[in-house]
Structure formats: structure tokens, C-alpha cells
């Protein structure tokens, strides 16, 4: 007790205080992640462990694919201070388009998928032309586009109603799993390729983290202390390991998760590592300053809406494939779910703030709520109310933690 406070200060910060410091300064980043874990633990307890079972987690993740990809695009759209209300119907329409192309026109799936993706990009570019060139509010332009896509969906499904898709490859995207090697007497109850990929992921992650740390040190930059670094590695490795283990207990890695992981990886890379990503955040942060810095705001607007359109078509493919059919109501309300995921994940409507991983965590939170409440047998009416409350609550907490800094 009687230690000289001066000496105390001069000591290197203890492990614990460094951890607390890190948590404190990044609280708004970690908050939703922690909330997600709390929600998962809660449902695990209330459902006697059914929630956390391999089967349920696998289902949950495979169901969220079509919302997750939309949330990625929506994050960028909101970052540049816009909104896209058309993506639900665009996804529905393009899903139906794909179905018709395969069933009525007999086109091969390998031609249909790129075609639909390109159509998605074209639709996004078209929708954003009034926004980028004439300053029409995105709210109006995309709402109008949504109505048009809705009409188009009804038009193409008019004669047939629901279109059943029989193509095996196409249907595997939303329902299939990656192949496994034959059993050889070890871990026969698990999907071995999934475990292998998980292990590979962990190794790659650790190697790149060590390399990053070395480069930083070679620049003489400050890095977190060794124990913290190791703690971080262990935590993330444990998460990757756990998820692959859970998935391997039920059919393994699904194709739809592969698609989502690819989308997340590519878009995270673009937003954090490339000039294009910087430009997107700059336009969101202050469009006038961005323009005077040599960034074309209208070009960025086109790129972001083009990407959104492509992701909407991907969402449509995932959904149609999961249902193995195109229906007249496909896409209904997708945009709301995507917008909710983005906001829960921490994007700001004022622009310039929001990350792709954040929005994915947001999507997971919303999906876990649905899945958990379904398992508990809670009525759909209550589910809507809870999800609404969580959405606004999350944004309030996010604002509060940001202000607190």
C-alpha cells in the first residue's frame, strides 16, 4: 500500500491492465461481438443446448447466406451516405430470371450464373445513374427501382407461378456441402476436409499475423506486448477451430458458406487495403473534400451501387437455390434485413463509418435471434417485436460507446 506511486507508473503496464486498456479503447468494435456471444449462450441455455448443436449452427449459417451478402453491399452503400431499397426485389427478380434461363431456355448453369451476376451489376449501375449524375436522393431512386423489379418479377412468373429448379449444380449452391475424403477409421463422425481447412485457416492466420508483427517491428513501430499478441492469436485460432469443429459435426462446410466467406474476404480486403476502399470511406466522410482530393464521387457511387447490384444477384441465386425454386414472393423484405444487419454491426447513417466484418456480426446477431426464438417456440409476432427492440437498442449502445471515446 505504501509503495511510491511514481515507481508504479514507470513500470511497464501489467498484462491485465493492457488487456483492459485494449478493450476500453476498442469497446465499440468488440461490443456487438460480445453481445453475439451472450445471445448464443442465452439460447443455448434456454433450448437445452439444441441451439449450439452442430445441426442448428450449420442451418443458421446456411440460412443467412443470402442476407449476409446483401449486408456486405449495404454496408458500402450506407458508408457513402446512401441507401438501397431495391435490392430485395432485385434479388427476387434475378433469382426468377436464373430459374427461367435454366428451365425454359435450357441454358447451362455455368452460363446462367455469370449472366445473372452481370445483370445485377447493370441494374445497380442503372439505379444509381440518377443518384450519381443528377443528385436524385437514393431513397427515391432505389425505391422506384424496387417497384420496377417487383413488377418485373411478377411479369416473368405470371404464366408459371412458382418455377421449380431441377439443376443439381445450381441447387447445390444453397444446399450442398463440400466433398469429404472417405473414412479411414479416424474421426469418422466428422467432416475431415472441413477440419483440415479449419486447421489450414488457423496456420495461415498465425503466419500472416507473425509476418505483420515482424514488419511493424522492422519499422520500429510499437506493437502489443508478446503475451497480448499470443492471447489474440489463441482467441482467434480458437474461434476458427471451434466453428470448423461444430460444422464438421454436421455435413461440414456448405457451399453457401464458402460463397459468403469469399465475398467477405474480397470486400474486406478491398475496403481496408486498397485505394478504392479508402476512396469509398473518404466520400462517405466528406464528399466535397473527397472530390477536391481528386476522387470522383460519382464514379465511387457507381462502383458501390454496381457492387451492390452484383451482391443482390448473388443473394437471389443463393435464395432460389436454397428453395430449389423461384417464387413470386422471393426477395420480400430482404433489404430490411440487410439494412438492420448493417446498423446493428455499427455503420453510421451519417456516412464514412462501418466495417464489413461488423455487418456480418450484425447479420449473425439478427439470425441467431430468429433461430433461437424459433427453437424456443416463440410466436412470430413476439419475434418481430424483439428484433425491432434489439435493432434500435444496438444502435443506441453503439452511439453511446462511440461518444464516450
Amino acid at each position: 500500500m505504501s509503495e511510491n506511486p511514481k515507481i508504479l507508473e514507470e513500470r511497464a503496464p501489467s498484462f491485465l491492465s493492457e488487456v483492459i486498456g485494449l478493450l476500453k479503447s476498442n469497446i465499440s468494435q468488440y461490443f456487438m461481438f460480445i453481445a453475439l456471444i451472450v445471445i448464443m449462450i442465452f439460447f443455448t441455455i434456454t433450448t437445452d443446448g439444441i441451439f449450439i448443436s452442430s445441426r442448428n449452427i450449420s442451418n443458421l449459417i446456411n440460412q443467412m447466406g443470402y442476407i449476409a451478402v446483401l449486408a456486405v453491399g449495404m454496408t458500402l452503400v450506407i458508408v457513402i451516405r446512401h441507401i438501397d431499397l431495391s435490392v430485395g426485389y432485385l434479388a427476387g427478380f434475378l433469382g426468377a430470371f436464373a430459374a427461367i434461363a435454366m428451365t425454359a431456355w435450357g441454358l447451362p448453369v455455368y452460363a446462367v450464373i455469370p449472366m445473372v451476376l452481370i445483370l445485377g451489376i447493370a441494374s445497380g449501375l442503372l439505379t444509381s445513374t440518377p443518384i450519381a449524375k443528377l443528385g436524385v436522393p437514393a431513397f427515391v431512386s432505389t425505391m422506384a427501382a424496387g417497384l420496377i423489379f417487383r413488377g418485373a418479377l411478377l411479369l416473368v412468373t405470371m404464366g408459371t407461378g412458382t418455377i421449380i429448379i431441377k439443376d443439381k449444380v445450381f441447387n447445390a449452391i444453397g444446399n450442398g456441402f463440400i466433398p469429404d475424403i472417405p473414412d479411414f477409421g479416424f474421426l469418422d463422425n466428422n467432416h475431415k476436409v472441413t477440419l483440415l481447412l479449419g486447421a489450414l485457416g488457423i496456420i495461415l492466420f498465425i503466419l500472416s499475423a507473425i509476418k505483420g508483427r515482424k514488419t511493424k517491428l522492422s519499422y520500429n513501430f510499437k506493437v502489443p506486448s508478446m503475451p497480448i499478441f499470443i492471447l489474440e492469436l489463441v482467441l482467434i485460432a480458437a474461434i476458427i477451430g471451434y466453428v470448423s469443429w461444430v460444422l464438421s459435426g454436421y455435413n461440414g462446410l456448405s457451399w453457401s458458406l464458402v460463397v459468403v466467406l469469399l465475398v467477405v474476404a474480397v470486400f474486406t480486403f478491398i475496403t481496408t487495403k486498397t485505394p478504392l476502399g479508402r476512396h469509398i470511406y473518404a466520400v462517405g466522410g466528406n464528399p466535397e473534400a473527397a472530390e477536391l482530393s481528386g476522387i470522383s464521387v460519382s464514379k465511387i457511387t457507381f462502383i458501390v451501387f454496381g457492387a451492390m447490384g452484383m451482391l443482390a444477384s448473388l443473394s437471389g441465386i443463393l435464395y432460389a437455390s436454397r428453395l430449389q425454386s423461384a417464387t413470386t414472393t422471393a426477395g420480400l423484405g430482404f433489404e430490411t434485413d440487410a439494412i438492420a444487419a448493417a446498423f446493428v454491426g455499427g455503420v453510421s447513417a451519417a456516412g464514412g463509418v462501418g466495417t464489413i466484418p461488423g455487418s456480418i456480426v450484425g447479420a449473425l446477431v439478427m439470425m441467431s435471434l430468429t433461430s433461437g426464438m424459433n427453437l424456443m417456440g416463440i410466436d412470430i409476432s413476439i419475434q418481430y417485436i424483439v428484433r425491432g427492440a434489439v435493432l434500435v437498442g444496438a444502435v443506441i449502445v453503439d452511439r453511446a460507446t462511440r461518444k464516450g471515446k
Binding site: K273, Y281, G285, N286, E288, E291, L292, G294
Partner: protein, 507 residues
């Protein structure tokens, strides 16, 4: 001790990584004009924000006494009740609303549920008379110049019972006539018993108006000077502010023979579709390598428009005439094209269109030239940190780290970030629009030194400035603008304050 209306004792205010105020003591006598001076980031604005409740009670330590009574303000409403009115560094008027609506914003005069428009207009007219502003209360604020807008801010403050009026750099964006008017107004208010606290970097103005001057440096009170007899000199003041003496406000530069012509405008005209009139008429100017060319003129004479019309024309004026850069005719379609031809433009409005306030120092500095730090399309963040740290050091940017959000920097340091950003594009011609607005003497000296070293290396600078001493002290040549036209060109050996002013007011 004389009768003090305000006393702030041992005020300490910390932000993450910065101790903005460190045991500051500040005492203001009743009815005086008290000036608060100090370098950028010294803590002046922060001290006033503590006083006005923007930083609420509990977020700082120390005590505030008004008329000897201890005060605990939880927000700006509380301090208003105690008779304090603050006018911020940035204007806070709503351009689309009329003058009277702005004056009574938040305090509408109403009859039951309905606003009593007639009474409001009548009262607004009276307040406007008080501040000596001769405009109709019904015109929209956006139609008025900055000088008049500043007076409306004061009118807005005066409609309530004001005991203490705080003005944070009110004259930073004003020309000389408007500044003088404002100073007269503050003196007039003093006659009516209003105590004023004035923050300013314009020392001449401080010395002429202040009864008392308090100097802050690095969050500490350095001294309080009695200036009732106007005996304080600027060298004394500067010494207290920066902690050393600066003999010559404008650093010497080796006279070098200017090189080849690097930029030329011929018959340059611009029409603004938004305003529906010509804003630039028949401009002919030329800039040579290694020159600092000043552009003088009054507010609204078209200087910023000229800069923007050259720099890729982001406001989409309809431009005619020819622009030559390094001997080649150029038709820039965007600022990107202009940057590509090695032009840079440091804007006058760093918050509005200069910086990304919610982003950090590092990202702001590299934004206009990301390709320089990207290899195969990937940004090398480590390289970026090195570059940003170098600018932080060479420009002496005061910030706890380059990861700090620019929003949290003081005005002068934001300006340095802006300068760093444009130096990083390695320009051949740099257009500086009001480069030292809101900047302290020490930092001004630093910026002038940087400008000198840049032209010595062969760069050209076009400097737009409303500060005549700066125009005279730094330029090799001056163009004077008025009403969108070039009224004349003066070389270093023929220009004087009088000659420039005469041209500037010649419409």
C-alpha cells in the same frame, strides 16, 4: 482585487492522450474587454467550452465562479441562464432561414401555439439596430456576406440578457472593414455594461481593443497583462505566447530569379449556373517557377472561385478561356486531372471541404496521393505511418498520435494537416487559399518558412489572402481582384497597403 464578474480556478480538462487545460486560472473584471491569446492548441476554445457548459460539469476539475457564486453548468442552456453567450469559431446560422428566424431560433416568440411573426420581425429589427446592421430582417441569411452573418450571430446572442459575451475568433473570416466594425460594436457593448471575452490570433486587433490580455500556452496560464493604457507590445505578447521571441514575422527568403512560366490563364471567364451570373471576367494571369504570387481582394471578389475554376472546376461553373500548365494547354475535367498535372489546392474552408474530420491524421495526409504508397494496388500501411509521422514532425503538428481523429485537433493543427496532405502530392504549383486563417503567430512563421523553402526548391505558390500584411510580406508579385476581375498587378517594389486597397474597392 477588483470586482470580478468571472473567475475560473484550477481548471483541468483532459482528453484521451491530451491534457488540454492544466490548472488554468482565468479571471475577468466586470465590464472589461478581455482577450485570450495563445498558440494553436493552447486550450483557448476548450477553456471557453468549459465555461459555456459544452464540456459539462464533472468532465473537468476546478471551479467556475460568476459574481462570486460557484456554478455547475450541465449544458449550454445552463450557462445561457447565467448570462453567458458564446459565438463559436464556426458560424452556426441556418442559411435557408431568414435573418429574424435565425435570431429567434430556439426562442421563438409565440402566441399560444403560433409564432407571432410580426412581433418577431419588429424585435429583430431592434436588435439589428443595436449591432448596427442595416438589413431587412426578412432576407435569407445566405444572401448576406460573412461579415454581416457574424453580426447576426452577435445579434442572436444579444437578444437574451447577456452579461458575458464570448467570441471565439470572430474576425478570422472577416476583411478589415468588417473586422473594424465588429471591434467598434464590441466597444459599444462595453459602454452598455457587457463584458466580452475575445479570442483572436490577430494581435494588432487584440492590442488595440483589450483592457486585459491572458496568455495560454500548452494548457497553462502564462500571464495576465494589463493593457488599459495600451502599453503592451506585440513582441512582448508573442514572446509569452510562443515562449521565444520572433523578430521578423515574415522570414527572409533568398531572392532568386523566377524561372519559366508554369501557369497561365488567358481570357478566363466563368459563369455560375447556381447564382445565374458571371463570377470571373476576362482574367489574365501568369505564374513562374519559384514565385509566390499573391492574390488580394475583398471577400467575395472571386478569388476562391478563381482557384476552384483552375483546379478542375468541381463546382461546375461554365468556364471559357485557356489554361496553360507548363506550356501545355489543359482542360481539366476534375480536380483529379489537376492533381495529375501537379497542381494542389489547399482550401480556405478546411472543415467544410478540406479534411475528412471523422478520419484520422494519417488517412487525411495520404488521401490525395494513395497511389504513391500502394504497391500492386495494395496500400502499404507501414509506409503510410512513416510518411504521416514525417509530416507530423516536419510541420510540427500537435497531436498525441497520427491515429487521432482530425476533428479533435485545434484549428491551426488542422490547417497543418491540410498542408501536409497537399505537400504529399508533390505539386509544382500550389494554390493556398487563406493559408494562415486562424493560425497563431508561431505557426504562421512556420508556414511562411515552409512556403519559402518550397519556392526555393522551384515550386510556385499562388497565395490568396485577405491579410494585407501577409500579402505584402510574402509575395513577389500581387494581383488584385475585385468583382470577378483582375484590377491590377503590382510587383514587390511597387506595392503598398494603400495601392492594393484602392484597387480592391474599385468595382
Amino acid at each position: 482585487m477588483e470586482d470580478s464578474i468571472l473567475e475560473m480556478k484550477s481548471i483541468t480538462k483532459e482528453f484521451p492522450g491530451v491534457k488540454a487545460l492544466d490548472e488554468v486560472t482565468f479571471s475577468v473584471a466586470r465590464g472589461e474587454i478581455h482577450c485570450l491569446v495563445g498558440e494553436n492548441g493552447a486550450g483557448k476554445s476548450t477553456l471557453m467550452k468549459v465555461l459555456s457548459g459544452v464540456h459539462p460539469f464533472g468532465s473537468y476539475s476546478g471551479d467556475i465562479f460568476i459574481d462570486g457564486v460557484v456554478q455547475q453548468f450541465n449544458g449550454i442552456r445552463d450557462s445561457e441562464k447565467a448570462g453567458i453567450a458564446i459565438i463559436y469559431q464556426e458560424l452556426a446560422l441556418i442559411p435557408e432561414l431568414s435573418v429574424y428566424e435565425n435570431i429567434f431560433l430556439g426562442n421563438e416568440i409565440h402566441n399560444g401555439l403560433v409564432i407571432d411573426t410580426n412581433k418577431t420581425i419588429q424585435e429583430a429589427a431592434e436588435i439589428l439596430k443595436k449591432v448596427g446592421l442595416d438589413v431587412s430582417p426578412e432576407v435569407k441569411v445566405k444572401t448576406l456576406g460573412v461579415g454581416k452573418q457574424q453580426l447576426i450571430e452577435i445579434a442572436k446572442a444579444l437578444k437574451k440578457e447577456v452579461k458575458i459575451l464570448i467570441l471565439d475568433e470572430p474576425t478570422a473570416a472577416l476583411n478589415e472593414t468588417d473586422s473594424d466594425n465588429l471591434m467598434e460594436l464590441i466597444k459599444g457593448l462595453k459602454q452598455h455594461g457587457v463584458t466580452s471575452i475575445l479570442i483572436s490570433h490577430k494581435l494588432r486587433e487584440v492590442l488595440s481593443i483589450a483592457d486585459t490580455i491572458t496568455v495560454l500556452r500548452d494548457g497553462k496560464t502564462i500571464c495576465t497583462l494589463d493593457n488599459r493604457e495600451h502599453l503592451v507590445t506585440d513582441s512582448v505578447l508573442i514572446k509569452h505566447m510562443v515562449g521565444r521571441s520572433i523578430d521578423n514575422v515574415f522570414p527572409r527568403r533568398e531572392k532568386i530569379e523566377p524561372g519559366e512560366e508554369v501557369l497561365r490563364l488567358e481570357n478566363w471567364c466563368a459563369f455560375s449556373p447556381a447564382l445565374g451570373r458571371d463570377i470571373l471576367k476576362d482574367i489574365n494571369i501568369s505564374v513562374r517557377a519559384g514565385e509566390i504570387v499573391g492574390i488580394a481582394g475583398l471577400m467575395g471578389s472571386g478569388r476562391t472561385e478563381l482557384a476552384k475554376s483552375i483546379f478542375g472546376n468541381p463546382d461546375r461553373f461554365r468556364v471559357s478561356g485557356t489554361l496553360w500548365v507548363k506550356g501545355e494547354e489543359q482542360k481539366f475535367r476534375s480536380p483529379g486531372d489537376a492533381i495529375h498535372s501537379q497542381l494542389a489546392y489547399v482550401t480556405e474552408d478546411r472543415k467544410g471541404n478540406g479534411l475528412i474530420l471523422i478520419d484520422d491524421v494519417r488517412h487525411n495526409i495520404t488521401l490525395a496521393n494513395l497511389k504513391e504508397i500502394a504497391t500492386r494496388g495494395i496500400i502499404n500501411e507501414n509506409e503510410e505511418i512513416v510518411i504521416a509521422s514525417n509530416y507530423k514532425q516536419s510541420l510540427n503538428i500537435k497531436t498525441p498520435s497520427i491515429e487521432q481523429k482530425v476533428r479533435n485537433l485545434s484549428g491551426g493543427n488542422q490547417q497543418k494537416v491540410s498542408l501536409g496532405k497537399w505537400l504529399f502530392v508533390k505539386p509544382g504549383v500550389m494554390i493556398l487559399d487563406e493559408p494562415t486563417r486562424g493560425i497563431d503567430v508561431g505557426a504562421k512563421y512556420e508556414i511562411y518558412t515552409i512556403m519559402n523553402s518550397l519556392v526555393e526548391k522551384g515550386m510556385s505558390i499562388i497565395m490568396i489572402s485577405s491579410e494585407l500584411p501577409e500579402i505584402l510580406g510574402m509575395s513577389d508579385r500581387v494581383y488584385v481582384m475585385s468583382a470577378g476581375k483582375i484590377k491590377g498587378e503590382l510587383s514587390a517594389d511597387e506595392f503598398s497597403q494603400e495601392k492594393i486597397m484602392a484597387m480592391a474597392v474599385d468595382y
